[in-house]
């Protein structure tokens, strides 16, 4: 009996002393922090993807609390909804930002871009890019090792085994921009999602002159400038033999798509055209190829 009582007392006292010590230490080393940082962090998605340009959700919360306006602070993952909540907590007006989505600007499929060599090293685009031009003759196009797929924290990217190119799942894409950073060839761009996800994109980043670009890839932009001429809204610029569509100016008229001899301009998520209209388009395409 005595033993039990003694052990109970000893344990009890030890526990008490430890508890007091812990309390004192916790008080002494307490870090004073704005409680709103925690509140803001609470409403953020917590993926720590770095898409906002900060080291993680915590860093963004700190920045938001310090800031006097939410200009330039945006969580691409949570979107406008989350930023509205953040604004509520801090008493700041949220800044409207258009939803964006990652776009892979390369259409160098296996058929369009003949393989000229066989890469046999570590499966990493960055390593391959540092080493040489890649398995095809296009020094700008997708290397197909999937660095972007590995970088995506949301499972929104996958490699299409048929084309050898990455595919973006627009439902899952949060436009955090990790893939943009991971791609050594800067193929992926965050573009405005567009009304009903409809948008026009130049699916090529080849800056070579027409002949070598075309030789390397049938789907390459050859910088002919036809799209620029046909565009009524001044949305297309051709620089370094490469067309670029400014998504803020584009009105989705699809004239450039028809004008492009190599079908490098893609219209995404448009309803299918009527067969009667489609016929002549494919024919001009064939002529251009021949």
């Amino acid at each position: 009996m005595n033993v039990i009582i003694i052990s109970l007392i000893v344990l009890g006292v030890t526990g008490l002393v430890a508890a007091v010590l812990l309390y004192i230490i916790a008080q002494k080393f307490k870090v004073e922090e704005d409680p709103r940082i925690d509140q803001v962090q609470e409403v953020l998605p917590g993926a720590n993807c770095g898409g906002c340009g900060f080291a993680g959700c915590r860093a963004l919360s700190e920045a938001c609390v310090k800031a006097t306006s939410l200009e330039g602070l945006f969580c691409p993952v949570g979107g406008a909804e989350t930023m509205a909540k953040v604004g509520d907590i801090l008493g700041l007006a949220p800044v409207a930002t258009e939803p964006k989505v990652a776009v892979v600007r390369c259409n160098g499929t296996c058929e369009a871009r003949p393989r000229t060599s066989e890469y046999n090293g570590a499966r990493s685009c960055q390593i391959m890019h540092n080493l040489y031009v890649g398995e095809t003759a296009c020094p700008f196009g997708c290397l197909g090792c999937g660095d972007c797929v590995a970088a995506c924290n949301f499972g929104a990217l996958s490699m299409d085994p048929e084309t050898g190119l990455p595919v973006v799942d627009e439902e899952k894409c949060t436009s955090c921009g990790q893939c943009v950073k991971a791609c050594p060839r800067n193929i992926i761009e965050l573009r405005k999602k567009g009304p009903k996800s409809r948008r026009m994109v130049v699916m090529c980043v080849n800056k070579d002159k027409g002949a070598p670009a075309r030789k390397a890839c049938l789907n390459a932009c050859i910088g002919c400038g036809k799209c620029q001429t046909v565009c009524a809204f001044d949305a297309i610029t051709v620089e370094n033999n490469l067309a670029y569509i400014d998504y803020n100016k584009c009105r989705l008229c699809r004239k450039c798509e028809d004008a492009c001899p190599t079908h490098a301009i893609h219209a995404v998520h448009f309803p299918p055209r009527k067969p009667a209209e489609e016929q002549p388009v494919t024919e001009t395409g064939k002529e251009a190829q021949a």
Binding site: N120, S124, L131, Y132
Partner: protein
């Protein structure tokens, strides 16, 4: 002593295919492309125009900075255009295109084979001639030679070390050069010694070349201060830092240049080029390259002028073997696998190695079994297994702490890995990334310092 102390591996040397093959001079092509980047540093600036007639040895592109090198016309003929060409790795490089017409040389070049021994030139004059001749290190790095001969203030060269090691398997061009032009090399060494104002020079040669050791020993026995050091075989003995360690037992500290321990290292081929430039006024317009491989019909050593299409040289050696899977510019340990053979010979290519297809593919990597063989093999005392893992995980700061910038990319780790892991692939990528980050930080610090200085001045 007689070899470097840390790490190293023993690959099969495979030099028997092309060893002791007399140097064959490659015939002139009809058209030539002369790339303007044949060295480390800024590209050379063309000083000729389209349609201009040039003679062999005429300066056609000037060095684009201090660390850069002149380029001379290797052929006589007409410049057809100045444009870009695609090199064997798919990169675009500026180049001069020309049609070859006849073989008309600049008049002051001594084209005889007679050995010119006497020289009373001042050090400055020697260095000027080397600079003018566009000589770069022909061992592989292509660092402009004149930069090495002008030590930074406060540093004094004490010892000239000549690299006759040729530790890369398969390659034999330096070996053959020592056998055929040993005397010229010795004169070149004396010229470099005078240029540097030093009294001692050693020639490091690996023991798998006993005839070259004997020949060079016989030649330098009468010459004060020059001696041959036979070295035990071990790769990468031809690495600058390893060679200094092997020859004079001094280790160059991390991040420093050989001059830190008083050494200047030059390759035998470079020394031969120095001799030709100084004594015969012949600029660097050609070099000896090894064409080799197990199935090559006529493996051997060929003297080619820069700009000759490599395909022409290969045709001379019996064409591309049918079973070829990989063509390597250089040796199998550090050479670069080429995308195609559509490239002109240049200062950088020391050989072409044709690997049969069955030897061309890597074996599928397995898990790291932490055997530590890469650590024992690393000649720089690094931990490749750790660096490659850190690189995969993008831990750049940790890589920097583990001295990734000391890596010489010799490939010993990957060569020795029983799990066939692509260690060097990842380490090399990490090194490039860390290098970029460090340069960016240095630039940012410089800008900040300048801004602070400007503020203070106000």
């Amino acid at each position: 002593m007689n070899t470097f102390k840390i790490g190293g591996v023993h690959p099969q040397d495979n030099k028997r295919y092309s060893a002791h093959q007399q140097i064959v001079t490659c015939p002139l092509p009809e058209k030539a492309i002369i790339p303007l980047i044949q060295h480390i540093g800024a590209p050379a600036q063309p000083i000729v125009e389209k349609g201009e007639k040039v003679r062999v040895g005429q300066l056609i592109a000037k060095a684009g900075g201090f660390v850069s090198a002149n380029i001379h016309a290797p052929f006589s003929g007409t410049i057809t255009k100045i444009d870009t060409t695609v090199d064997a790795w798919g990169a675009r490089v500026p180049a001069i295109f020309m049609d070859v017409e006849g073989d008309l040389w600049e008049e002051d070049i001594d084209r005889t084979t007679a050995v010119v021994r006497e020289s009373q030139m001042e050090p400055k004059e020697i260095i000027d001639r080397i600079t003018a001749a566009g000589i770069v290190g022909l061992g592989g790095a292509c660092f402009p030679t004149h930069v090495k001969l002008l030590p930074p203030p406060g540093k004094k060269a004490e010892m000239l070390i000549i690299n006759g090691v040729e530790c890369e398997p398969y390659l034999t061009c330096d070996h053959q050069l020592m056998l055929e032009h040993g005397e010229e090399i010795i004169i070149g060494i004396q010229l470099l010694m005078r240029a540097l104002g030093i009294k001692r020079a050693v020639i490091g040669i690996e023991k798998n070349k006993p005839d070259a050791i004997a020949r060079m020993q016989a030649l330098c026995s009468r010459i004060l201060g020059v001696s041959v050091i036979p070295l035990n075989m071990k790769y990468p003995q031809g690495g600058e830092k390893q060679l200094i360690d092997a020859c004079i037992g001094r280790q160059v500290p991390s991040g420093a240049l050989p001059i830190e321990v008083g050494a200047v290292v030059d390759n035998v081929a470079t020394v031969y080029a120095v001799y030709e430039a100084v004594q015969k006024r012949k600029p660097l317009i050609s070099r000896v390259i090894t064409i080799t491989g197990k199935s090559v019909a006529k493996p051997g050593n060929y003297e080619v002028r820069f700009g000759t299409p490599l395909a022409d040289v290969v045709a001379l050696a019996g064409g591309i073997p049918e079973d070829t899977g990989k063509i390597i510019g250089g040796g199998p340990m550090m050479g670069r696998a080429m995308n195609s053979l559509d490239m002109p010979a240049n200062k950088r290519v020391s050989g072409l190695l044709f690997l049969p297809e069955k030897e061309s593919r890597r074996i599928e990597p397995e898990n790291c079994i932490r055997c530590g063989k890469c650590v024992s093999a690393c000649p720089m005392g690094l931990e490749p297994y750790l660096l490659s893992r850190q690189s995969e995980l993008q831990m750049w700061d940790e890589m920097k702490q583990h001295s990734v910038m000391d890596c010489i990319e010799c490939g010993c780790c990957q060569f020795t890995c029983p799990s066939h892991r692509p260690l060097l692939d990842y380490v090399r990528m990490g090194k490039a990334k860390v290098g970029g980050i460090l340069r960016a930080r240095a630039a940012a610090a410089k800008v900040a310092a300048e801004a602070a200085a400007a503020k203070n001045n106000q």
